[in-house]
Amino acid sequence: MSGQSEVSIEEVRRVAELANLELTAEEEPRMQRDLNAILGYIEQLSELDTSSVAPMAQVGEVLEDRVVSPHGETLRLDIVQPSLDRADVMASAPETDGRFFKVPKVIER
């Protein structure tokens, strides 16, 4: 992170593409400016030596009285249960034939 060079407009475009976002010509420079400001602010994390610290992904990992059961403390039993009704779900779809979601062409020919 240290000595990180500024994010270029090309990088903003590349990240937008990764995120499936289409930025307008006005949005691009603004996002570039904000990203650089925020990344500059985040830079201060590099002041800390964390070489011997295990990353924390979930709160449960740090609880001192944590119980680890052989089945996994929070997993439910693997029993088949009813899920949402298909017709209810499809009622919200932008385009459907009743059974499947319909989308525009996936492969160009």
Binding site: M31, L39, L45, L48, P55, V59, G60, V62, T74, A91
Partner: protein
């Protein structure tokens, strides 16, 4: 019951009045809808009303009362739901255009629990888009105004939930808190807001922002009501694998235990430069009251506090970039119908559907997770998160609760911070560390500034020790009334 008196109504009063036949759940619901129709135009707290569902529930409660049955704890209580939690058949927008007109086919667990406990759900409440913001100015459906000062923001992201309780548009509401989104608006609007321990309340049916941080909690007019709400909401849910089966409940009974002998910690990092002097004075007054009630006050240190905001904005945005990939125009919500290919449809839908702050956070999160930057940003932030959690665990070996300000300043003016994302992010300076560590916290009113703006004090408790946190909050509340 006058419209004005709705503003001070509590859960207990509602339940007793309905049980005794002094009013009906139906009349109360109608009175709230009347008040919303008359006055919410200038506050903008509700995005959708669920009138049919509310009146069916109210009728059910009224029949129970008529038959003389024992009423459930929230019988007839009008409650509003933040629009990131889903209610079957009622629009859920997350204050975003990408979900305009979406009607979810199921209830969030928290919604279902409130209704099972007798609550009358009035409708869905405005917030920052996808709960991303600290002022409620990021809503696609217009900002919410602070009922205590209309030129000020109500805070965010659960600004509408705090404003609705303050304005008398609901007796209690649900909000969500990822980095301060319950505590900060509670402080700005002068109401009680509770952030339960991560895992205490199910997230099932919550439109996800940052899954390892998102929490659901109540806004109320007093601490006892908050305890009542939490009793209903808390507990294991098989539909949320991170919800805990640790014992919960008895929060109301716990309030009766005196606070004498409790050890109260004052983290020095929360009282540094930038803290408004009037807020500092009000928080110190709350500490004096706890001392007078028999608590021991001692200074503690949470040494990594200054790294909480930068760590938070890496972790929260990384998780958001992943969670918000589901809004792609395929299964629900907005779709761009002009696009000729699938990838074009994704991009055009998301561009039209997301607001500027949501895009900014998706970009930042995607960047932090992208090849070559993962270790430098995401992994680093997770390591700092572990240090922040350790700070709290060590402090809680010495003390039972921590007392701190909620925000560095009182409610600011609309438009004051919208141009500078970092300025807005620093709003969270006293709230994000607890979010990252997973401990419980709450905001309790503790006075007003010279401009009559509300001030909140933050009470932070150990993981799953909401009972002690609520007791201390209650003692502070009682000292205000004296």
């Amino acid at each position: 019951m006058t419209l004005q008196s709705l503003k001070n109504l509590t859960i207990n009063e509602v339940r007793e009045a309905v049980a005794a036949g002094r009013t009906t759940a139906t009349a109360l619901a109608e009175a709230h809808y009347e008040r919303i129709a008359a006055e919410d135009g200038q506050i903008n707290s509700y995005l959708a009303l669920s009138r049919d569902r509310a009146l069916i529930q109210a009728e059910k409660i009224d029949q129970m009362a008529q038959r003389g049955e024992v009423l459930p704890p929230l019988a007839g209580v009008p409650v509003g739901i933040k629009d990131v939690l889903v209610m079957r058949g009622v629009p859920a927008t997350a204050a975003s255009l990408v979900l305009k007109d979406y009607r979810p086919p199921y209830d969030a667990t928290s919604v279902q629990r409130l209704e099972a406990a007798g609550a009358v759900l009035l409708g869905k409440i405005n917030c920052d888009e996808f709960a991303m913001g600290s002022s409620n100015e990021n809503s696609a459906y217009g900002p919410v105004r602070n009922p205590r000062a209309l030129d000020r923001v109500p805070g965010g992201s659960s600004g509408g939930s705090a404003a609705a309780v303050a304005a008398g548009f609901a007796v209690a509401t649900l909000g969500t808190d990822t980095g301060g989104s319950i505590r900060q608006p509670a402080a700005f609007c002068g109401v009680v807001g509770v952030l339960p321990t991560y895992g205490r309340v199910s997230r099932y049916g919550l439109i996800a922002f940052a899954s390892s941080l998102d929490r659901v909690g109540p806004f109320t007019r007093n601490v006892k009501d908050a305890a009542t709400m939490l009793e209903v909401l808390a507990g294991r849910d098989a539909l949320d694998a991170t919800s805990s089966d640790r014992p919960s409940g008895d929060y109301v009974a716990a309030l009766e235990k005196p606070v004498e002998g409790l050890r109260v910690g004052v983290p020095e990092e929360y009282f540094g430069e930038g803290l408004d002097p009037e807020i500092r004075a009000a928080v110190e007054k709350a500490l004096d009251a706890l001392k007078a009630a028999g608590c021991t006050i001692r200074k503690v240190s949470l040494p990594h506090t200054k790294y909480a905001v930068p760590a938070y904005y890496v972790i929260a945005t990384a998780e958001a970039s992943s969670n918000l990939s589901r809004f792609d125009g395929v299964r629900f919500g907005l779709r761009d119908h002009e696009a000729k290919t699938l990838s074009d449809m994704y991009r055009k839908t998301r561009d039209a559907g997301f607001g500027a702050e949501v895009k900014r956070r998706i970009l930042l999160g995607t960047y932090a997770l992208s090849a070559g930057y993962y270790d430098a940003y995401y992994k680093k932030a997770q390591q700092v998160r572990a240090l922040l959690a350790r700070d709290f665990l060590e402090a809680f070996h010495e003390v039972d609760v921590l007392i701190a300000p909620v925000t560095p300043t009182p409610a600011f003016r609309l438009g004051e911070k919208t141009d500078d994302p970092i300025k807005m992010y620093l709003e969270d300076i006293y709230s994000v560390a607890a979010s990252l560590a997973g401990v419980c916290g709450m905001s309790v009113p503790c006075g007003e500034t010279s401009e009559a703006l509300p001030i909140g004090v933050q009470v932070l408790g150990r993981h799953f020790d909401e009972a002690t946190m609520l007791r201390v909050a209650r003692a502070i509340e009682q000292s205000q009334q004296g």
